[in-house]
């Protein structure tokens, strides 16, 4: 049975699209059939992060409005087998997506044998964000260890628990936290909220921590999901996240500063 997963955060710029791209690629690399949908109508970006921006012919809105079939609009990823991208529309108005239309697309993807349907939510709590989370079975909440991001994540959790279809049916949406842009050195210095603090504040199970990393920008420059940048911390972190998402036990990593000086070893806490 297909699982519909929304990647959301409330706040913009925290790493939703980066996480959508890497989780999708990671699930597909493990042999699952994955479709990743960009819900950010008017501000399409997932195609750029995935490196398929020049191959967009038809988009999500074309399919919703019946101008193209889902098969025509799905872009097959060139790097990872089993991975398909459905781009957001760039030009149309925000009302182009309808709940019925989105439901039809998701149902078609389920019927086509997709294992995972990843919905990359736009920022904010407007219609696009609400549609992205409405049909979700599970949610990945992307949060930065920073006050406004934590607050907005809490808002989005409230909306998931009140306005998603599962909530309307009296069922729960399974929530997972992904903490991105984590900087263990600043946490140790007391300058950044620690992982435990954010988990406690939001009371959501932690899927994983992605350390702040130069590699994320470099991957987006290249149009490659950062999970495919072998050997980088961000890639390792996302691989762990995918493994945990599939139910594997993996100890949390990237929570502490790796190279402690002798002085800190002797005198540090």
């Amino acid at each position: 049975m297909a699982r519909v997963i929304v990647v959301t955060s409330g706040k913009g710029g925290v790493g939703k699209t980066t996480t959508s791209a890497s989780v999708s690629a990671g699930l597909a690399a493990r042999g699952h059939k994955v479709a990743v949908i960009d819900f950010d109508v008017g501000l399409r970006n997932l195609d750029l992060i995935m490196g398929c921006e020049r191959r967009v012919v038809y988009d999500f809105v074309n399919v919703v409005q019946g101008e193209a079939t889902i098969k025509q609009a799905l872009i097959k990823d060139k790097k990872t087998p089993n991975l398909y991208v459905l781009a957001a529309s760039q030009t149309r108005d925000k009302d182009a997506l309808t709940q019925e239309g989105v439901e039809r697309v998701i149902d078609e993807l389920k019927a086509d044998g997709f294992d995972f349907i990843i919905c990359d939510s736009p920022a904010g709590i407007e219609k696009g964000a609400q549609l992205a989370l409405y049909f979700a079975d599970e949610a990945i909440i992307v949060t930065n260890p920073e006050v406004s991001s934590v607050r907005d994540s809490d808002r989005i959790l409230g909306i998931l628990q009140a306005k998603s279809r599962r909530a309307e049916l009296g069922e729960a949406v399974k929530e997972h936290l992904v903490l991105t842009r984590y900087n263990p050195a600043r946490v140790e210095a007391g300058e950044m909220l620690a992982m435990n603090d954010v988990v406690e504040l939001l009371s959501v199970d932690l899927l994983g921590v992605v350390p702040e990393s130069q590699d994320v920008l470099q991957a987006s420059n290249a149009g490659t999901p950062v999970i495919l940048q072998e050997g980088t911390d961000a890639s390792e972190a996302y691989k762990d996240i995918v493994a945990r998402f599939l139910g594997e036990e993996k100890p949390q990593r990237f929570l502490t500063v790796e190279h402690k000086s002798l002085f800190r070893k002797l005198f540090g806490k």
Partner: protein, 88 residues
């Protein structure tokens, strides 16, 4: 420097702790607000209008809250009346 920070840092709160404290208070407040039904502010306004036809009250003195308790929803209405003289 680190050692100095460490020694001095004991009684001075780190900014991360400050952030956590602020968020704890804010999230608790916002969660209780978001659970309240949409009609509550308007209903509060209308109740105030009715009461103020009979009693001279201060708007700040009416508190309305909705709680769920043992499977019942309890609407609690708290009003502080002014001194008796001006009332009836």
């Amino acid at each position: 420097m680190r050692l100095l920070d460490y020694l001095l840092g004991q009684n001075r709160k780190s900014s991360a702790n400050h952030a956590k404290d602020r968020l704890q208070i804010l999230l608790a407040h916002e969660r209780s607000q978001s659970k309240a039904p949409d009609y509550l502010p308007k209903m509060r306004q209308e109740i105030l209008e009715v009461i103020s036809r009979y009693v001279d009250i201060d708007e700040e003195n009416l508190q309305i809250s909705l709680d769920a308790d043992n499977g019942y929803e309890v609407l609690e209405l708290n009003l502080i009346l002014p001194d008796a003289k001006r009332g009836a």
